[in-house]
Symmetry: C2
DNA sequence: ACCTGAACACCGTTCAAGT
DNA sequence: ACCTGAACACCGTTCAAGT
């Protein structure tokens, strides 16, 4: 049969593709094996089990982001750096909406690694860069905390608004069922279209501007 | 045997207790049945399946928060209201750390319901209250978006820092394994203790103060 | 009306056996 | 060294049967 040797990375990438398409709940060792034209049990030569596989999938995505986007060029300022990281992470979240909940939900390597920046390599790079731009230790840590908290809040909301059901592969009732039974909630009914208006891009940029403004204000205080 | 009749609410509360203790991944219909001294298959008379059960568990917690905390008294100002809701939600998240990821990860009733305020009743009440304090339509919606995004960011991070593994019931390697292999990351190593310092309470309060300040600044603009 | 027990089609994972 | 096939202990869910 001239079967090619499996490699852990191929398995992990297949898992990411599978989760992107069908959701984690649908990922089984047997089905993933099928997609790789191998018996499920062969996967155990490369990963210790399903749990580790999911964890590796998350790590892979985070590492990709680091390698592809960041090591390229040095940004011109710390503001540009924050914008760059924020937008790269946002692109990642929006292009893998079924993976993103796992990124923030899997336990990080250490409790002081805050999602979605969840690897020592990443966080060290982030902190070092800020320090290179003259941030003190205190301000570096403050900025890291404010930045992660901002990023997380926005991205979870954006992904959630995509209506992805991380649990099932089929949406029973897709589409924007509008004002179903909102009769008892007049305020909600009146504001509904404003709430549904999607200004994610602008909200994200404005929030980021705000954050940068606040960091700037305390940077040299 | 004088078996008591099951009720859906008892099943849902048992599911919450089970998830709190062991995590969602450990919840099975058979095990939950055992904890209620009933065969698993009896549960299907009250819930359509495991998926609905988890969804009901999330709703139950959100409803509890609404009933227990909010309907009590009218707060003295919109600032007091926001603080009240924020702290109530934070208490809920911290006392059910294994449920919280489900609250933000389950698809909401409508995509414009932003977690963790994920019920029409809740959101209508929130919006109505702000309007009672003189917020215009635009400012109400802006405040709602800023508030949910703030709350989500902070709470996800706090829960994540608790190191809860939503996937498994046993932590292989619990405890604060400190500076394992941080040799290649000097910045991280130096800032590690500052990062690990838990100032969640202060960060939350400061962030909330900030948010309220920003909302105040635009309220009558 | 509600619960049970057996059954079905799946899981994750182990392990002896093949090559 | 790596993959397979059978096996084990579990799942969620259906359904006929009991009471």
């Amino acid at each position: 049969m001239a079967r090619q040797r499996l490699r852990q990375e191929d398995i992990v990438r297949a898992a990411i593709a599978f989760i992107d398409e069908f959701g984690v709940q649908s990922l089984s060792m047997r089905r993933l094996g099928m997609s790789l034209e191998v018996e499920a049990m062969a996967l155990y030569n490369y990963v210790s089990g399903r749990e580790e596989l999911v964890s590796l999938a998350v790590d892979e995505l985070i590492d990709d982001l680091f390698d592809d986007e960041l090591m390229q060029e040095q940004p011109a300022s710390w503001e540009a750096f924050l914008r760059f990281v924020a937008n790269a992470m946002r692109d990642l979240a929006l292009s893998h909406p079924r993976m993103f909940p796992l990124m923030i939900t899997q336990p990080p390597e250490a409790p002081w690694l805050r999602p979605p920046l969840r690897s020592v390599r990443w966080v060290d790079y982030f902190l070092t860069t800020l320090q290179d731009y003259g941030f003190s230790d205190e301000r570096t840590v403050d900025a890291y905390k404010a930045f992660t908290s901002f990023l997380l809040g926005h991205l979870v909301l954006e992904v959630s608004a995509m209506g992805i059901d991380i649990a099932s592969e089929i949406d029973d009732d897709a589409g924007g069922g509008e004002s179903e039974g909102l009769g008892d909630y007049p305020t909600l009914r009146r504001l509904q279209t404003m709430l549904a208006d999607d200004h994610s891009d602008r909200e994200f940029d404005d929030g980021l501007d705000d954050l940068i403004e606040r960091i700037r204000a305390t940077k040299d205080a």
